[in-house]
Symmetry: C2
Subunit: 276 residues, 2 copies
Amino acid sequence: VGFMNTAGFMTIGEFAGRTRLSPKALRLYDELGLVVPARVDPSSGYRLYAEDQVERARIVGLLRQVEMPLARIAVVVGLDGPAASQAVEEWWLEVETTVGARRELVSYLRTRLAGTQPVAYDIEVRAMPERSLVAISRHVHKAATPAFFDEAFTRLRRAAPGIVGIAGVPFVIFYGEVSEDSDGPIELCRPVVSDLTVEADGDRQLRIEPAHEEAYVRLASKDMGWPAMVPACDALDHWLGTHQRRPAGPLRQLLIADQRTATPETLACDLAIPLR
Amino acid sequence: VGFMNTAGFMTIGEFAGRTRLSPKALRLYDELGLVVPARVDPSSGYRLYAEDQVERARIVGLLRQVEMPLARIAVVVGLDGPAASQAVEEWWLEVETTVGARRELVSYLRTRLAGTQPVAYDIEVRAMPERSLVAISRHVHKAATPAFFDEAFTRLRRAAPGIVGIAGVPFVIFYGEVSEDSDGPIELCRPVVSDLTVEADGDRQLRIEPAHEEAYVRLASKDMGWPAMVPACDALDHWLGTHQRRPAGPLRQLLIADQRTATPETLACDLAIPLR
DNA sequence: TTGCTCCTCACGTCACGTGAGGTGGC
DNA sequence: TTGCTCCTCACGTCACGTGAGGTGGC
């Protein structure tokens, strides 16, 4: 392979040594277009790397060491220096956010496992009549939820303008977990008068929810988010067991106060579970 | 399925609703013995869960939400309350440690990408003669390295007792990255006089390292660890490029001072790379 | 001729999600 | 009969590690 060296190229093994990446990883990065060898020998298929590719490969390696996904790395290495630095920072803030959420949950889990008496929640039951709902349902990840609520609230308002057609507080149904790697779905619902007609508009639909009972806890604004809400969820779950009731559907959050003007202590939602 | 309900059992779907786990996840947990249904219908294969299994399933679900691996969860749910709480805390401290390391690396990466002038390192080159080495090599993860060094140092000392046989400072060769999910291997080496005889003892071996040049940086004790060492590694890499030299092997760390008595500012090691 | 490096599949890892194809009770 | 739920494979995801089997130059 002497002639390659005199031409200034490195084989994959030499390049691996320079960059502390494995040949296997380098072949993948080639395939994904992250670090493409300067030349490929047409007859042998040997990958030949140039000295000026070392820098880029090392950046990729460092980004992998901090566990940035390759898809995101592809974006970062496509930017110029300051923009790349910025993109890394933005990604890292996301990581810190999820670690913060995990940290909170761990702390709750520890007290729960240790058997410490948990906060007592005031769980009540109430009967809900049959109601007509306008609803918008969507698969969204955690980051996209505020945008979803903005949009969905606007479209519900358009369906029942003013307060004429409205017949109750809006609520959110969590059909699946909403987090970074799990996308619900979630549904925003608004009870309306039963004779309201709503024209079709994308994923907005009109449906009837049958009469049922629901168990609920009233929560302050600061306890509404994730994972702040988890202890209350657990309390509801525990209540189901001790009262021998079965859930008739997933959890929902009734938005009983204006979220925009709420302070952390405002009682802003009811966390509720429909009962059989 | 009415008779199951009257017997107090839940089908997988009902249990999934109670625990907010997916049926697919529950089948996996069954297979792994994490949450095994109280009964399995022999003819249909239907899984039937009891009310008192909800608690355990929810714990598993919460542990998965904080991203504890299932293998570790299996250990935790096998412990009693206080011990389980303790085990979660220990695991979480490991997580915080690796997040801390990633955070440091991100900060370095950002300045590097932004093109800020990095710290200047004083890189020198020296000739190393042919030497005899006693060496112990092992695959170890980050957590196991201190124990490995303890053991390996003792065994090297036994090979060359006192200072009679010793012919240089000990050093560590990093054949692969040492972290949580990457296990080296690493090798602890001690130069000895060439006529020393060493009896075989497990993975302890005697070998000859050929004469070579090496480029090195001298580092303070506080800059020796991971990821504190990364900027110095990068500086060596960059030096190779600008001086048109090729590495002849992986990085090594020469332990030039007693690590036990070193203060953070003590110049405690040479980070070196052998040259072709 | 024997090593050494390179090549391209192909399978395993981890914790599921997502069909595919089939069964059983209302 | 039509849905609904359950069942068991089997494949895809992500970023590689680890052979398997074959080639090419010293």
